[in-house]
Symmetry: C2
């Protein structure tokens, strides 16, 4: 399916359409990368986890389970997705595993947390 639904209407601008196609093509990889991060942060539980990790520097699955009132496996599976997406990293101390946000993602995530704190104020 491609180019089969072109509108007949006069206003449709072939130059504009082509320009748009190129914009999309040029940023294909950027769209994939960013949408992956946004969809991870777009889950309410994971957004809370990230917010808490930023506030507390690091937390373990057990603490998160306790704070959010969710089962340990549920939390662990969310953390796995965040780790697979390279948004968080982990370190081991004894039998406890501490998760924290990867510095590379802090800037984007902080813009989200700022919005959360602003919404709270309303």
């Amino acid at each position: 399916m491609s180019g089969g639904n072109v509108c007949i209407r006069g206003e449709a601008n072939p130059v504009q359409i082509n320009d748009c196609r190129q914009k999309v093509a040029k940023n294909e990889s950027a769209f994939a990368q960013l949408s992956a991060v946004l969809s991870l942060a777009g889950n309410e539980v994971r957004l809370k986890i990230l917010y808490l990790l930023e506030a507390e520097k690091e937390l373990c699955p057990c603490d998160l389970s306790d704070i959010l009132g969710m089962s340990i496996p549920a939390i662990s599976q969310h953390l796995r997705k965040l780790k697979d997406g390279n948004i968080v990293s982990s370190r081991k101390e004894g039998q406890t595993i501490f998760y924290s946000i990867r510095p590379a993602h802090l800037k984007l995530l902080r813009s989200f947390f700022k919005i959360i704190n602003q919404l709270e104020a309303i």
Copy 2:
């Protein structure tokens, strides 16, 4: 399920846990609102649609279908989700319906587009 998984380990700090619980409770509505927007933008097709709407001010489903090489109903259903989420609005001109980004969301979305344009540069 609540408070049933408290870790036994010594480092677990009851004060910190309680502090976190309050932070989450205080922002409950903000988490719901923001995660809704992020999950809408977290779909690759919708992220492209939003990017194009910002660049072109407004576009119709037919144009978007043509640009993105997707069926009209598929595009229409994405636009409906964005409209239900109050991220875009529409105006009618003849038989064409033009969609555009609601000003209230432009600031957040522009921070995404900025990242896309930066990723492109790499």
